[in-house]
Symmetry: C2
Subunit: 249 residues, 2 copies
């Protein structure tokens, strides 16, 4: 299988039934945020799931493997990254479940393009988007990494407009952002008829401010949100990855 | 001093330098929520503070005593309750700082009425409002108590419209709600140009969902919110009241 690997790439063991992901120094590494988000996603066996900005393919692969939905589409703007994710899918023998598409998320607004790509209304959409506003703090040192961290290629408004179009009525959207954008996110979700139904925060320790906010929103959902227990992400005992892999929401 | 007490009333010791509050079986008892909210309020010595729906006067009394602002107005719809709060203010010798006004919060929309009551723009507004929507769950068994718990006399939209008018530009608003109304609250605050700047939740224990959300919003504030550490409210060691009295935000 190692002919699936290129020179600057290596395999990372997800410590879950032998699942492995190709990682490259050229691209932003997936983080535990993605693993938490993948665990948060609730998806059934008849569901069609879209992972927007799939990157290494981590969320597409984890949700496909754990939940065996009908189909998972992973959308990735960067061609090389899409290719790498596609090879990770092959590596884990999930080609029947997952299709990686190399295109700009914003293009999915167009009904014509969705038709060409054979994309029907999604039951579930998930996105681990760039957290930081373009122009805030130092951009990452390579363009590849900046696209994953900063709103260079996609901002929150653009993302939510696409999600609203992709999702069927009653469908679920899962997303994570910097917690200091919580108010902006909640308000924009509601403006786009995506009603927050579950929300939780991560804190490094019991005494620290929250760092990330995770939201499940339902298209056309009724008002009223469940605020789940805060997730403490410190790793004093080194068992953090183990812990988040087994999260139940 | 006990001639300040009526038949069905008793004094409750706040365990803070001898501060006491008159409580009556006829009215909704103040809860620890009010004490937490009062501690959350940041108010300076030159500030004019308004406590909307002051009830027993607990928040007006605690903030006046602790922070010595220029002036505190406590607004209370129910005449008997306003009278009781006024006597609590006298009991604690805070008449110079606190004025209790018996009127409907909604009437404060009117510039004429504000002028008559000598109410100028507030630096800080605080409100421990009715949490529950009118018509949801069982109403409390007496009308007096229902007004404090259910949106019989004041709903969220009405409250925020008044707050927007009362507060000066850059002024701060402090409020607490059921956490399942977090999304609604945040979105409506933003609609009213009250930008959430600090937010935190209470949880009964580390494993339970949140119950309440506390928000500090700034009129005309810049987007971006700090999510403070979750506050665990269990009382295993019986030191909960002690703990919340000394909360620092």
């Amino acid at each position: 299988m190692n002919n699936l690997l290129k020179n600057d790439e290596k395999l990372e063991d997800l410590q879950l039934d032998g699942l492995q992901i190709i990682q490259s120094k050229k691209f932003y590494r997936f983080t535990s945020d993605a693993v938490i988000l993948a665990n948060f996603v609730s998806v059934g066996s008849k569901d069609f799931l879209m992972d927007l900005g799939t990157g290494s393919g981590i969320i597409a692969i984890l949700t496909a493997y754990k939940n065996k939905p009908k189909k998972v589409f992973g959308i990735e703007l960067q061609e090389e990254l899409a290719d790498m994710a596609r090879r990770s899918v092959q590596f884990n023998k999930l080609e029947n479940l997952i299709e990686i598409i190399n295109c700009d998320i914003k293009e999915l607004q167009s009904a014509k393009i969705r038709q060409e790509l054979n994309i029907s209304e999604a039951d579930v959409v998930v996105c681990n988007p760039p957290y930081k506003k373009a122009g805030t703090s130092a951009l990452n040192n390579t363009e590849n990494k900046s696209i994953a961290r900063h709103e260079v290629a996609l901002n929150m408004d653009e993302l939510l407009k696409v999600v609203k179009v992709l999702l069927k009525y009653g469908g679920r959207f899962y997303v994570v952002y910097d917690s200091n954008r919580t108010a902006e996110l909640i308000s924009k979700l509601k403006t786009n008829n995506l009603e927050p139904k579950k929300i939780f925060f991560t804190q490094p320790s019991p005494d620290n401010d929250a760092t990330l906010v995770f939201v499940e929103a339902v298209k056309g959902g009724k008002e009223g949100v469940k605020v789940l227990p805060v997730l403490i992400t410190n790793d004093k005992d080194g068992k953090y990855l183990e812990k988040i892999k087994n999260l139940k929401f």
